[in-house]
């Protein structure tokens, strides 16, 4: 298990460099947008990775409530943390691309708003974990994570209707993707998935170590108290 870590780290580094080369040099320049479009290779894989991590958070939270295993709780915590990081990348790269292409930094379009609300929900989840005291944190965090997942379809429908009522200035999506671009996109996603895995793994081990330290501190003060 421990030996796999440096291997994964090296693979991630290689894949990320290769993906960078592919995205900046190999991928064809987009006809109308020009080079700005290349941010797409970071934006989209980050979004997919973030959504995947939030889904893992949901599954791990349910697992925790059923099995009460500490592993599931730590998995829920780290997937939410790393998910928020990738979601932040999405929310930052999006406007950087939108400004030259759409002429605006932000619009209340369905996908943008949904991503922002997801980010808000998971930040509040992490805040709850940070502020929470005592040994009940995993239970209430798992419950809140499930509430968050229940909220997502409602958010989706509310924004969908909100937007179809007030058409936005942006015509998003549609059209087909050049197969060479799709190829680069998938390489980048693979690299980002490895990076996410690496980050989660590091954070997981760190969290386990932190909890052990806390436990031993608690034991020490108990021993001192009993003497």
């Amino acid at each position: 298990m421990k030996r796999g870590f440096p291997i994964l780290a090296i693979v991630t580094a290689l894949l990320l460099s290769f993906a960078l080369y592919e995205a900046l040099i190999v991928a064809p320049t987009e006809q109308t947008m020009g080079n700005v479009q290349r941010i797409f290779y970071y934006h989209v894989p980050s979004a997919w990775t973030a959504f995947l991590l939030f889904a893992i958070n949901f599954v791990a939270s349910i697992l925790y409530l059923i099995k009460r295993s500490e592993k599931a709780d730590i998995l829920a915590l780290v997937s939410a943390e790393v998910g928020v990081v990738f979601c932040t990348v999405v929310l930052i790269t999006g406007p950087i691309w939108a400004r030259p292409v759409w002429g605006i930094w932000w619009t209340w379009d369905l996908r943008l708003t949904l991503t922002l609300v997801l980010w808000l929900i998971y930040v509040s989840y992490l805040l709850l974990r940070r502020f929470s005291t005592g040994g009940k944190t995993p239970v209430i965090a798992a419950v809140v994570a499930i509430f968050g997942a229940l909220d997502v379809p409602l958010v989706y429908f509310s924004i969908w209707f909100f937007r179809t009522q007030h058409p936005s200035p942006v015509i998003g999506g549609g059209g087909s993707l050049d197969p060479r671009m799709a190829h680069v996109l998938l390489i980048n996603w693979a690299a980002f998935l490895c990076l996410a895995w690496l980050l989660c793994w590091t954070r997981y081990e760190l969290e386990v170590a932190e909890r052990r330290v806390e436990e031993s501190h608690a034991m020490e003060s108990l021993m001192e108290g009993s003497q």
């Binding site: 930040v123 509040s124 409602l154 429908f157 909100f162």
Partner: protein
Amino acid sequence: MSFFAITRATLTKDIRLEWRSKDAINAMLFFALLVVVIFSFAFDPTAEESRRIAGGLIWVAFLFAAVVALNQTWARELRNQVLDAYRVSPAPANPLFLAKAFGNFIFVSVLEALMAPLFIAFYKLRALGPGWQLVPIALLGTWALVVNGTFFAAISLRTRSREIMLPLLLFPFSIPALLGMVNATTAVLTGEQSAKFWVALLLAYDVVFTTACLLFFELVLEAE
């Protein structure tokens, strides 16, 4: 004691406490009044403009004011370890939750009924759509706020600085409900579109989260 008897006992106790102290309702009323006055100063809208923005203003004011009542829901029970006593008693958890949610629902509804005339006067409101629809919208919207608010207030009991934690949890999760209330109200006030979709959304939100709260409340109450 039956489910219904526990709910009724807790609810009447809370209403009697509130009737005698009037802590929550006074604070909420004055807070909502301040929000109304400040918004009215800040925007100084014409009758036409206020029809478009009033839905948002009203619900933001009620949401902020409701947090005052929601924060008191469980804090009151901590003082004399009432909540611990409840936990060790054989009574099930859900009637307690329902009583607290109904209590908050009544407090916030009273607040809305008292504040509505002020809103109408300050913002020169007159509904161009079917005005009676505002009643079911208000009922569904208030329940959407208080059911999750009561639940998250119980969760934030377990945190440091719980008074801050409640809005930090409640606001992001309430975004679809808020969109529903605000847009339904605006639709009725301007009379431009039908509020049907938004009422359906509020109803779905209420059903989903009332079920979820009842499923998970025991877990949160007993979490030790």
